[in-house]
């Protein structure tokens, strides 16, 4: 009898960890409930039009995060490493787009001598995105060849440090080359970032910018095509196989190195597109522009369950919405939106470390 009773008693004992969980969870819920009550019921700080504005900007920033997040998640799924330099891949793409747009702006076309960017607005956008995507792709692949491939099989800290080093290197190289000042992105004739459709909500206008809609739709298209690549193509199958087990995949005739390179290339494509979108929509870039979106995107990857592609998209959208609605909803300073985003990350990791959609990884997979 005592033998069978003992395990049950052990299982019932509340660990200090659970106490911490309960205290933190209740404290957080009480805080959120109190602030929401203050903002929504007592003070009526914002009208419905403002809430709609917050939600729209959340969806847009979420869609940009989603593109970067995919890069983290894909690389994590395959190499089980945090590609810390991914935010710089994003930054490099933004700069490539910036330079192409600048060049097209000063390039006269035809007899009138009008700039290329005004005569051919749509090809200009395509060229800008192509430049950003190609540059980011090349950067991503080169990064893997130089900084990560020689370290495969080393203890987990080693590639992470190398990634941190590569990130610092790229940031500073960009700052030295392009200067420390902020650069204003060209305001494209076809996609003016100050224009858009106007909705009337509660008697007040809400501007939905063309660039915002464009960013959101393009991001969704890219995400869907990525999902199809991973689920339906030969390369996608190879990627999934490598992420399950490299040795076995190699024995099945998959060229592991080439699959890893292509994964970095795909991550680079998405990050480059995100970089150009960022420039077009937000209008300003600088050498450290990738840092905050990069950390946020990683947070989103963890939030959704790292290594899981639909999870990454969901996590990024959730994070974008939380950080744009959060400061308003809790009646806090907008400077604190990063704090809210990271607090969400900490809470998710305390209560559901595998993320929203993540599977529970077994120890062998580490």
């Amino acid at each position: 009898m005592p033998e069978s009773a003992a395990p049950a008693r052990i299982r019932k004992r509340i660990t200090p960890y659970q106490i911490a969980q309960i205290v933190i969870g209740l404290g957080f819920l009480a805080f959120v409930a109190w602030r929401l009550y203050e903002v929504l019921v007592v003070e009526h700080t914002y009208g419905p039009d403002t809430w709609l504005k917050f939600a729209i900007s959340g969806l847009i920033v979420g869609s940009v995060y989603a593109l970067i997040t995919i890069g983290y998640t894909l690389v994590y799924a395959i190499l089980r490493m945090i590609n810390f330099a991914h935010s710089e891949v994003f930054m490099v793409g933004a700069f490539a787009g910036f330079f192409v747009f600048e060049a097209l702006k000063s390039l006269p076309v035809g007899t009138g001598g009008h700039p290329f960017i005004e005569v051919y607005p749509i090809p200009s956008i395509i060229l800008g995105f192509a430049a950003g995507i190609v540059t980011s792709m090349v950067t991503g692949v080169a990064l893997e060849r130089i900084a990560y491939r020689p370290l495969r099989g080393a203890p987990r800290l080693v590639p992470l440090i190398s990634a941190v080093g590569a990130s610092i290197f790229l940031q500073n190289a960009a700052q030295l080359m392009f200067g420390p000042q902020r650069r204003t992105f060209v305001n494209l004739p076809a996609l003016d970032r100050n224009l858009g459709w106007t909705l009337t909500v509660g008697g007040k206008p809400v501007l939905i910018t063309y660039t915002g809609v464009f960013t959101f739709i393009l991001a969704i298209v890219l995400l869907v095509s990525l999902y199809l690549i991973v689920q339906r193509t030969r390369l996608g199958r190879a990627m999934r196989a490598v992420s399950e087990n490299k040795q076995t995949a190699a024995l099945m005739g998959i060229d592991v190195d080439s699959v890893i390179s292509q994964t970095f290339a795909i991550s680079g494509v998405l990050a480059g597109a995100a970089g150009v979108m960022w420039g077009i929509h937000y209008g300003q870039i600088h050498a450290y522009v990738g840092f905050i979106p990069g950390i946020k995107a990683f947070t989103a990857a963890v939030l959704g369950g790292i290594g899981n592609i639909p999870g990454a998209m969901l996590g990024a959208m959730t994070l974008g919405l939380i950080e744009s609605l959060g400061p308003g909803g809790l009646g806090m300073d907008f400077q604190l939106k990063d704090v809210i985003a990271f607090s969400i990350l900490v809470l998710v990791l305390i209560f559901r470390p595998s993320g929203i959609l993540g599977e529970v990884l077994s120890e062998e997979k580490l």
């Binding site: 933190i24 190398s162 200067g179 040795q247 592991v256």
Partner: protein, 522 residues
């Protein structure tokens, strides 16, 4: 054979071209030329040519490097490889030169887009020639340099006196180091060594001027924090990217309690010191409780999040009545010793030296204690450690708390020394710097951490001319270290063996027919 020569030559050439164009774009070529011009009393143009020629020579010798599979390549192969390398590099560099100088000549201010391409640096790059002339020169220089480098390298490698010289140098070095090592192992030798070290540490702060005391003090503070993080990362194997939190806790505790603004408390330094250290340790444990269940990468990113949260919170205007917001805390209290002010750079140097010695002593005792061995067991395999009866949560919390306490001490010294602290002192780079100190030095190794702090925080101060490229080369150094010597400068024995094992496991299979990837031979 020829195809592989061309391929290898192209690869080397592209490498040279990328390096040169990159250095040109970040303005490093001008800086290097200036340094050389200053050192050797040469003209700037001559110095620039020397720098470029040296680069080309080095790459040429690389192109001539005998790869393992070919035992004795013929001269024609070596020359072909060098020629291809030189040609390809020359073409890229020459074309780049032509494009940039043409744009410059047509009156476009390149500086608007590429920050380092000032008219001055472009004039230097053109070497007083026209665009075409400079392009031809920059095309020919790598070509000649590569060929010459290859011939020299090949000749040097096959020279009969080379191995004899190498042996002689080795013997000479041995004859100096061997007796010293033996002497250091005897009891009296060790006492003498420690006495000499002690004398140096006592006399050094007096002999140095303020600048060097400050610089070495910073190195010392990084040694303190490095040793603290070494316990967390190196011994317990918990990757903490938010170590700056505890540094900030230490700094802000001393700031808020001893400064006139914002709270007008102005307590004594010596009372606040233990409070700050204790508070940092408590915060370490409190932050540790919810997150230490997480696996490596998650822990890294959560701690990174904590680091960002603390910076944003300290910077927030909303909390400025408590923390003074973005303005920071000025005129922080400094220590006094029985009424005497104790606040010159030299005094702080003594305090830092004392703290470092204390922390070294503590770390040394800790890592060989029961707790220390528990940490190492957790790092190696957490499941097994728990099965052996180690309370992993308590041990990890202890590691976090002790590491945090060291950082708190570092923060106190840092803030009190500069009499100011503000939110911008606590960015992610601090955490990364400390982590780099631990990793570059050698995880889990006390001499390693000290060496790492000197290399990463001391060396850049010596190379002040290259200040603009400090952080850039820091990043490159991290990557290079990880690729070439991941165990660190002075690794602990255990770590070195682990790394060698890991490397043996991933080394490519001997025959090309065996399956790719890490094989089952490990």
């Amino acid at each position: 054979m020829i195809a592989s020569d061309i391929r290898q030559g192209l690869r080397t050439g592209m490498l040279l071209a990328i390096v040169v164009v990159f250095l040109f774009l970040i303005g490093a070529t001008s800086t290097l030329a200036d340094i050389l011009a200053g050192a050797l009393k040469l003209g700037r143009a001559v110095s620039l040519q020397t720098v470029l020629a040296l680069l080309a020579l080095w790459l040429g010798s690389q192109a001539a490097k005998v790869s393992i599979e070919e035992k004795r390549p013929r001269w024609i192969n070596t020359l072909l490889r060098a020629a291809v390398a030189g040609l390809s590099a020359g073409l890229v560099i020459g074309l780049t030169t032509l494009v940039f100088l043409r744009l410059h000549e047509s009156g476009i201010n390149l500086r608007t887009y590429l920050y380092q391409l000032s008219p001055d640096s472009l004039d230097l790059w053109s070497l007083g020639r026209s665009a075409q002339g400079a392009a031809v020169f920059h095309f020919l220089l790598p070509l000649v340099g590569c060929l010459l480098g290859a011939v020299l390298a090949r000749g040097f490698r096959e020279a009969p006196w080379r191995s004899a010289t190498g042996r002689r140098v080795g013997a000479l070095r041995e004859s100096i180091t061997r007796p010293l090592a033996t002497a250091a192992r005897t009891r009296w030798g060790r006492i003498l060594l420690y006495a000499a070290l002690g004398a140096v540490l006592i006399l050094l702060p007096l002999r140095l001027n303020n600048y060097w005391n400050f610089t070495l003090g910073t190195v010392g503070i990084y040694v303190l924090m490095g040793l603290g993080l070494n316990i967390v990362v190196g011994l317990a194997g918990l990757l903490d990217l938010g170590y700056v939190v505890f540094f900030a806790v230490g700094s802000y505790t001393i700031g808020l309690l001893t400064a006139p603004t914002p709270h007008h408390l102005m307590w004594d330094f010596w009372i606040v010191l233990p409070i700050a250290i204790f508070l940092a340790a408590i915060i370490g444990v409190l932050l540790g409780i919810p997150v230490l269940r997480l696996r490596g990468d998650y822990l890294a990113i959560v701690t990174l999040g904590f680091g960002e949260i603390i910076r944003v919170l300290l910077k927030a205007e909303a909390l400025s009545s408590f923390s003074n917001g973005p303005r920071g805390i000025p005129s922080i209290g400094q220590p006094a010793f029985f009424g005497l002010p104790f606040n010159s750079s030299a005094d702080f140097m003594y305090m830092i030296i004392f703290s470092v010695l204390l922390v070294i002593f503590l770390t040394n005792r800790l890592q060989n204690s029961r707790v220390g061995r528990a940490w190492i067991a957790i790092r190696e395999d957490e499941t097994v450690a728990r099965a052996m009866g180690i309370n992993t949560l308590t041990s990890k919390l202890l590691a976090f708390g002790i590491g945090a306490a060291f950082a708190g001490l570092g923060g106190v010294l840092f803030a009190s020394r500069s009499q100011f602290t503000g939110p911008d002192d606590f960015n992610l780079m601090v955490s990364i710097n400390v982590l780099a100190v631990v990793i570059v030095g050698g995880m889990g190794s006390i001499p390693g951490v000290i060496a790492g702090a000197f290399v990463l925080k001391g060396l850049p101060e010596v190379l002040r001319e290259l200040d603009a490229y400090r952080i850039l080369s820091f990043g490159a150094l991290l990557v290079a270290m990880m690729v070439l010597r991941p165990e660190g400068l002075i690794p602990s024995t255990r770590r070195r063996l682990e790394m060698q094992q890991a490397r043996a496991a991933v080394s490519p299979p001997a025959t090309p027919v065996s399956p790719p990837g890490p094989g089952g031979t490990a």
